[in-house]
């Protein structure tokens, strides 16, 4: 049974009539959608449907032309990406973006900046001068906090079995493609976001790796009951297994929305989306 849609007051994320145009292209067009706490929603749609643009708008990398986006009652639209991250949005990028020359360990520790120095909505713990002084003197309080963050980072890396933890001292650009994606997820996850945005996390992975990652996402979803996840995914069996709710986008707008079984059987969806994959190799296609 599909979960009842959250009303505006109890939703975690509310996207309200948001639009974004690039020149003549309406990448996102008057889109409204909401996500409940602890919900795992999948977003599917053909290439160029505006799925990634929706993510850029939520996390503030791109500003919406109009419409509003709210998270836990805070308005996100108009804020800078770092402020939105501090409000609890973690994300990965479709073309995985790791810090090439940083070690795996350092990359994950960067994801904990907000926990370390504070920020929206809490106040910052340091002003820039005290932060430099603290970095030089390393007072006990800072050491304790860093130790807690170290443990958190270690636990997060170990979520990925022996994929990342044994490689924690390696440079990020020495990792395999699949491991870079894992590292990005670890970085987005480590500070315990209330909303996690995953943009095609299994792209470029073989079936075994895909299943492993899908299991991990399912586990995260089960263990972090409060965390909402939005997953953009072309591999429809992954969507069926993981998501309780599916949004189908086409040309920037909503084509259909509902439970995976209903939505993916909808003739309009089949035409707009599955029609191009009628060979049955759901998700084998690589997008760029």
């Amino acid at each position: 049974m599909p979960p009842t849609r959250p009303t505006v007051t109890d939703a975690r994320l509310v996207v309200d009539r948001v639009s974004k145009r690039f020149g003549g292209v309406a990448a996102v067009d008057q889109l409204s959608v909401s996500v409940a706490p602890g919900e795992l929603m999948a977003v599917v749609g053909p290439n160029g449907a505006g799925k990634s643009t929706l993510f850029q708008l939520i996390n503030g990398v791109i500003r919406a032309d109009n419409g509003t986006i709210r998270l836990n009652g805070h308005t996100l639209t108009g804020r800078a990406p770092e402020a939105i991250a501090a409000l609890g949005v973690g994300r990965t990028f479709q073309t995985s973006r790791v810090f090439p020359a940083l070690s795996v360990w350092d990359s994950v520790r960067v994801g904990q900046t907000v926990s370390l120095i504070g920020g929206t909505p809490s106040r910052r713990r340091f002003d820039p001068v005290t932060e430099i002084a603290a970095a030089l003197l390393r007072p006990g309080g800072l050491k304790r906090r860093e130790r807690a963050l170290d443990e958190q980072a270690e636990a997060t890396l170990k979520l990925f079995g022996d994929r990342l933890w044994p490689r924690r001292h390696d440079r990020a650009d020495s990792l395999s493609y699949a491991n870079r994606r894992r590292l990005e997820i670890a970085r987005a996850l480590v500070d315990r976001p209330s909303l996690l945005l995953l943009d095609e996390p299994t792209a470029g992975m073989n079936p075994t790796e895909t299943n492993e990652l899908a299991d991990l996402i399912a586990r995260l979803h089960a263990e972090h009951g409060e965390m909402s996840i939005i997953l953009v995914e072309h591999k429809l069996d992954v969507v069926r297994n993981l998501a309780s709710h599916v949004l189908v986008m086409d040309r920037g707008g909503r084509l259909a929305e509902g439970s995976p079984d209903d939505v993916l059987a909808d003739p309009r969806v089949v035409e707009a989306y599955l029609g191009r994959r009628a060979d049955g190799s759901a998700g084998a296609e690589q997008t760029t």
């Binding site: 770092e82 973006r97 370390l116």
Partner: protein, 623 residues
């Protein structure tokens, strides 16, 4: 009485020259995706080669100019072939530093060949001018206007209506797509550098006629103004570049007419900073030059913001550093150095320590935080002036002067940083260059305080508060003082780079978009990097002022910034050991090659160019 109409005519004439330079920048930026620092040098060469044709070969002006412009065109192409093409697949910072090195090499070679002095440029039309109403119109103005218009119109027609022109524009928009459509992208690149050289050469001749003089460093101000014009127009658009050039010319002409020509450059550079701050995409352009790489980066088109990264392959190298006991051992040896060195070498040791401190300061902001600054000598100057003026005015211990100089350096660095942190990659270099030039002209023209070109004399020897006001007068004392400051700075900076702050700096350098998405307030951290760097540079300035007892604006010009940048790149960006190593190496090299003093700048330029071409990660590896 200044006549408005003559100022406009004059502004349009000069603006035409800026437009020619701006088109050169725009073409090269579009096709080769780099900002060509050597554009100003080609411009200077155009003037000098023509001058040589007239003065030494006895040619009439027109053939001499044609020959000079042709040669400049050839040199533009040759530079690309010899120096820029080979490093296309290297780190993204390589072409930038290479064109910077080329600019220095060309400018200082010109000083060697034609002397550093201003030369008279032949102008047969010098006396021809007419008064129309109140307006004063000279033949040169008209010539520049006519030449500029002919160039611009024919270039526009060429780009618009010929197959080659269309292929060139296609390459600028999307080289890969153009290649697939059968365009010979390599040939287009050659054509672009040729055109940039051609336009630069023409500009140089016109400016020579206009001022009736040429000088070897003229490429710097005109190059920067050409860049400003290109930026006003949105940097990658040709019509934008033309409009930007004319606007800048008129604006500048009006300010120098009504405010006085002293302000001419300052106003132009300030305009550049204002545009960079408020509208980095230019007045007409829309192309994202902003720090995050705009929507393009989010869509994955810019894989990493790191200038040390290459678009083609990971750039890695072995990293050599000294820490812990070995570092302490080196320090002990360094402390003992005055017992084996004579007075001259003690002095050189002090200079090496001061420049090491300056290199450490630059490597924080340029290496760890990835913000290449070429205005660094100005921060050094701010510290030097602060310490010198305070030291002359009242009797303060050196510790206090170091802190005061450092603080002023930090404040100046933050002021420069505020513009720079909103920009990406190559454009930061222009912003820091402009800030450096503005500070330099403050040193030069704020005569009440800095005593202008006369400099500050009679700076007292440093007195050490910790030693009960002990006054340092001998070379060994200066050496130990500088060494102590350097050692402390290295210890603290090393600690900072290992902390969360240093890690965050490197993350921003590597991928600013990913960093902000992970919650890093990038602007805050970058300003912290500028502040720390400015503090260290200011402290180095204080040591320098007290060592020499005399400072003048010339010590803090761009060339000094360039030397420090060379030290840092040579040692390995972001590597503290490398910074010290590069500084010591270059200072000692300068001393050893003392007899060849005039070749110094050419040598520095070559060192930087070779380092970039063959060891982009520096001798000790970048971190």
């Amino acid at each position: 009485m200044v006549d408005f109409f003559s100022q406009i005519i004059n502004g349009l004439a000069i603006g035409n020259v800026y437009a020619l330079l701006a088109i050169g920048f725009a073409l090269v930026f579009g096709v080769a995706n780099l900002i060509n620092f050597a554009q100003g040098s080609l411009f200077m060469l155009g003037g000098y080669l023509t001058f040589t044709g007239v003065s030494y070969l006895g040619l009439p002006l027109l053939p001499a100019a044609l020959l000079g412009i042709l040669l400049t065109t050839g040199i533009g192409v040759a530079l690309d072939w010899a120096c820029l093409r080979p490093i296309q697949r290297g780190p993204r910072i390589a072409p930038l530093l290479a064109t910077l090195a080329l600019a220095v090499i060309i400018d200082s070679t010109a000083e060697l060949v034609w002397s550093p002095n201003t030369q008279g440029f032949p102008n047969p039309m010098a006396d021809q001018a007419w008064t129309v109403g109140n307006a004063f119109i000279s033949a040169v103005d008209l010539l520049i206007l006519a030449t500029g218009i002919v160039c611009i119109v024919s270039l526009t027609l060429f780009l618009k209506y010929t197959w080659t022109g269309r292929a060139l524009r296609a390459t600028a928009m999307d080289p890969e797509a153009a290649q697939q459509m059968g365009v010979n992208v390599a040939a287009m690149r050659t054509l672009t550098f040729g055109l940039a050289g051609l336009l630069g050469g023409i500009g140089g001749v016109l400016i020579g006629l206009y001022y009736q003089s040429i000088w070897p460093t003229m490429g710097i101000p005109f190059g920067l103004k050409g860049f400003t014009a290109a930026l006003l127009g949105g940097i990658s658009s040709i019509p934008g570049a033309i409009a930007g050039g004319l606007l800048l010319g008129i604006f500048e002409s009006l300010t120098s007419g009504y405010l006085g020509s002293l302000y001419r450059n300052m106003v132009a550079y300030s305009l550049l900073l204002l545009v960079l701050f408020f509208r980095p995409q230019g007045l007409f352009g829309a192309r994202g030059l902003d720090a995050l790489g705009g929507a393009q980066a989010a869509a994955g088109m810019v894989p990493s913001t790191s200038l040390m990264a290459s678009a083609f392959s990971p750039v890695t190298s072995r990293i050599y550093t000294l820490a812990g006991w070995p570092a302490l051992a080196v320090l002990v040896l360094a402390v003992l150095y005055p017992f084996v060195a004579d007075r001259t070498w003690e002095h050189i040791g002090t200079l090496a320590a001061i420049f090491s401190l300056l290199a450490v300061s630059l490597t924080v902001v340029a290496g760890s935080a990835g913000q290449i600054s070429v205005g660094h000598a100005a921060l050094f100057g701010v510290g030097a002036y602060t310490a010198a003026l305070l030291g002359v005015a009242c009797d303060l211990p050196i510790e206090l002067l170091l802190v005061a100089a450092g603080t002023m350096g930090a404040i100046a660095a933050i002021a420069c940083g505020v513009v720079a942190v909103r920009l990406s990659g190559h454009v930061i270099v222009m912003a820091t260059l402009a800030s450096g030039l503005i500070l330099h002209s403050v040193f030069l023209s704020w005569i009440d305080v800095t005593r202008g070109p006369m400099g500050v004399r009679g700076i007292p020897p440093p007195s050490v508060g910790l030693l009960g006001g002990f006054s340092i007068t001998d070379n060994a004392g200066h050496y130990w003082l500088s060494l102590a400051v350097l050692a402390l700075a290295l210890f603290l900076t090393g600690r900072l780079l290992q902390s969360n702050v240093g890690r965050t700096w490197r993350a921003i350098r590597e991928d600013r978009l990913a960093a902000v998405a992970a919650g890093v307030p990038a602007v805050r951290y970058l300003l912290m990097a500028f502040a720390v760097s400015g503090f260290l540079a200011g402290a180095a300035g204080a040591l320098y002022a007290h060592l020499l007892a005399f400072i003048a604006p010339g010590d803090f010009f761009i060339l000094a910034s360039f030397i420090v940048l060379t030290m840092v790149v040579l040692g390995g960006l972001g590597n503290l050991t490398g910074a010290v190593f590069g500084a010591v190496l270059l200072i000692v090299l300068t001393e050893v090659l003392r007899e060849f003093g005039e070749f110094r700048m050419v040598a520095y330029g070559l060192v930087l160019l070779l380092a970039i071409m063959f060891r982009p990660n520096g001798l000790l590896g970048s971190k």
